[in-house]
């Protein structure tokens, strides 16, 4: 248990690349918002500030298994502890990102919008319909979704370079390219994304994200077992 939190702590500390990418994108966006909206008073739609932060769980899901794995093992961490020590890091990242997005969405976006005559900021809380049942529910819906994103990125990164990794990559491409043009299959795809993102019942969306996330994360145990240090 103690090593698990220790590893999670190191994982959070050593995700500098992810922080940097997200930080740069975020501040570029802040700069451009200030220039276009506040100074030049240009009208038009744009992505809300918080959206860039949402990249963080995705990037951490890629960088932690890709960059931290062997270094943690060289410090004396065991494979099973690594498996246990990633999820808490993703959960913490998802928690803080959701919190930050919520703050930006509720406090900063309205300020930016006040410079425009018509509301034209696309925030994922609105786009996904998370705002429907209030702020608290919106928080949990976003949190669950981000956790799922981390888990999927984590496992997909781990399987790269193994035969089942290529298979997983091929399957994802096939599903997206083949399913989209064929109506019944497209319907299945739509149903899937509807369930994990847009579902009208928050509980269904949250639970399906958490269950799917847990399943995908656990599938990562097989590549962790086989991964070279």
């Amino acid at each position: 248990m103690k090593t698990m939190t220790g590893i999670a702590k190191i994982n959070l500390k050593q995700s500098k690349t992810a922080y940097m990418i997200v930080g740069i994108l975020f501040f570029l966006q802040v700069g451009s918002e200030i220039v276009t909206r506040v100074i030049l008073r240009l009208e038009g739609g744009g992505l809300a500030l918080g959206n860039y932060l949402l990249l963080l769980p995705l990037l951490m899901g890629i960088f932690i298994p890709a960059k931290n794995f062997s270094k943690l093992l060289n410090l004396g961490c065991k494979r099973l502890d690594f498996f246990r020590g990633c999820l808490p890091a993703y959960a913490a990242a998802a928690f803080f990102v959701t919190l930050a997005c919520l703050v930006l969405w509720l406090a900063v976006d309205p300020v930016l919008l006040s410079y425009s005559s018509e509301p034209s900021l696309y925030n994922l809380f609105d786009v996904f319909g998370f705002a429907r049942d209030g702020v608290a529910i919106a928080f949990f819906r976003m949190f669950a979704f981000l956790l799922l994103v981390s888990c999927v990125a984590h496992t997909l990164t781990l399987v790269q370079g193994r035969w089942y990794g290529w298979l997983a990559d091929a399957l994802i491409i096939i599903i997206i390219s083949v399913f989209t043009p064929i109506a019944p299959l497209r319907a299945a795809l739509v149903w899937f994304f509807h369930t994990i993102i847009f579902h009208e019942f928050a509980a269904v969306q949250i639970l399906s994200c958490l269950i799917l996330g847990a399943a995908v994360y656990c599938a990562g145990l097989a590549p962790i077992k086989a991964k070279q240090i």
């Binding site: 500390k13 062997s70 270094k71 410090l75 004396g76």
Partner: protein, 285 residues
Amino acid sequence: MIEFSNVTKNYGKNTAMDNFSIKIDQPGMYCLLGRNGAGKTTLMKLLAGNVAASEGTITVNGEAAGPLAMPESVHFVETGATQFNMRLADLFKAAAEVNLSFDVPFAMGLARRFQLDASKRYKHLSFGMKAMVNTVIAMASGRDILLLDEPVLGFDPVMRKVFYELLSESCAGSTKTVIVSTHIIDEIEKTAERLIIIDRGKKVLFCDMAEIDEKAYCVTGISESVQAATAGLNIISETKAGGFMTRHIYDQRIEASEKYSVSSLGLTDFFVSLVGREQNSGEAM
């Protein structure tokens, strides 16, 4: 206590470990010798639970070892191991986060003795210094079985000497089992207590280092008399030139005579004779 029972490890079509068995039940420093590709690294990785055996079982203190059951008492240091790019002092603290038995003050003390600057970041260290850091992390890990894969690669002779002195010093009186693989025999010959020689994934020799001094020797002289004197002994290699012959023996010592001389065989020569058979066979046998 470490035990390999009939362990085979295949990488695709290559066999890195071939029905390998060994039982290590005494603490101390072990020297693991073998040519490139003999299976030294594989042996260590199997023991650390970094790879799974294709066949056979590996147990550490009675518990089976494998990737999802990496033995708690083993710390493995690979060649050129990478570490987080932190200041050494922070790196040791990080090690203590992931391994509860890690001893930070001890690591700091060792770093001082190795003349490592704890305020330097890992990436700013030289190759040799990095290897030192990895060894310090192993020695401070609080674990009983340390596996060091080519720890002195890239060291100058002075660093090698300091390294082995510190290693044997920190092993003396402890219950640690330290297995060191290397190609540079000079210092380890004088430090290690036991010797494991492997070749093509098989165990060739497992003995006390003192046995090499006692049993490995070289007989040179007139062919017939050398042949007669060494008949029935364990001949590991043979070289002929004119009517003379040199035989390398690993067996009971014989006395020198007028017709042949007997001299000791250093570990390097012994090792080359033992595992270099293929190359010699053309001329010698």
